[in-house]
Symmetry: C2
Subunit: 222 residues, 2 copies
């Protein structure tokens, strides 16, 4: 059995949750609870109740629930980046590589689970619904300096490189990469809540339509 370890920037946590059973419980249950309650209604007290521990114990791992969310989302982007590297490996065609990468973004909600105590499907839902809160704070710049958004920026760089490999002289590779990342989440969210803001027709499979739009977006511009 192989065990994949996604590394998350150190300053995000006080104590690495991967190192202890309690830590892993915190991660596992927080994913379930945040998805269930939404980030605003989620509290360390409720989480403590769910894992039969205490609020104060959770605070020894994460400074605040915001830091915990940053951890989860960072882990997710690291995971996506790894998935793209894995699935595009040995594919010679650059266009095909990009298509695979886009598919990973949209389809993560369906994949089989791979890391024992992390439910990637539920985590995907959290990312769709809550991830923008990770960097929309007054402390962005400090947190950015501390490397809080490193895995997201890495993933953006991965896309940027894929675009440049396909079309070396493209001038907007970074802007397109970040746009693709954000648009993929956003269109999934919109298809679930604001039907009129997407072009997913009744009866159509949203994920397929969104993938089509992303392909159209990327290859229409490159």
């Amino acid at each position: 059995m192989i065990s994949i370890k996604i590394s998350v920037p150190e300053k995000i946590y006080i104590r690495n949750p991967e190192d202890t059973i309690l830590g892993k419980n915190i991660i596992q249950q927080s994913i379930i609870l945040i998805e269930e309650l939404g980030f605003e209604a989620f509290t360390f007290k409720k989480l403590a109740g769910a894992i039969e521990s205490t609020e104060a114990s959770i605070y020894r791992y994460f400074e605040s629930k915001h830091h915990l969310l940053v951890y989860l989302v960072s882990w997710y982007w690291g995971w996506i980046d790894y998935q793209i590297a894995y699935r595009t490996n040995n594919i010679p065609d650059n266009k095909e590589k990009i298509k695979i990468a886009l598919k990973v973004l949209v389809d993560m909600g369906k994949g089989e689970m791979s890391v024992d105590y992390i439910d990637e499907r539920t985590l995907h839902k959290i990312v769709i619904a809550e991830s923008s809160k990770v960097y929309h704070t007054k402390s962005v710049d400090t947190e950015n300096k501390d490397g809080f958004f490193k895995t997201y920026k890495n993933l953006c760089h991965t896309f940027s490189k894929l675009f440049l490999a396909y079309k070396p002289d493209y001038t907007f590779s970074h802007a397109l990469a970040s746009t693709v990342l954000e648009t993929s989440q956003q269109q999934i969210y919109f298809s679930q809540h604001f039907h009129s803001l997407t072009d997913v027709k009744l009866g159509e499979k949203p994920s397929q339509k969104i993938e089509d739009f992303l392909v159209h977006l990327v290859f229409g511009l490159l």
Copy 2:
């Protein structure tokens, strides 16, 4: 002197802040305070202090600070929609119309103020930094039914129509419209906080580069 009134969906507020001096004070000062403190640190208590009133009085206008943010952002989208209608009026060329609309999105942070008690420039900053929080909640669907996001959806529809006027058989007009709206905000935010996620070079004017990217995005796809 002309007075423009942007109408905001009724269910957002308990009492229309436009109707009283206290209400207008709430709006005016909340814009300043939210921009200054960020939405998380902003409280009705602090706002009450700033306008020399009380928390309870503010609660007679808005059910929660979330509702107040929804009000501000809704007003902003209504205002942008009006600005686009105004500035594209009598322009015969459809391509030119779209370009004007995109310019409005990016340049709102610079315009002169027009509504006495609302500072549009500061409000623009709030929209860039906080607007995604408006619909990323567990209550999206209920609030959507109550019309909370009407002005945003209207604006999206405005763009969609502009795209279809330019290219009647385009299949992704709604998805492109929502993508353009979100991307414009997102790229402004990224240019301010995550330089590496955009292609704004050192010394370049961010707003011009972002406008260029949006034009490239729209006309590369249409």
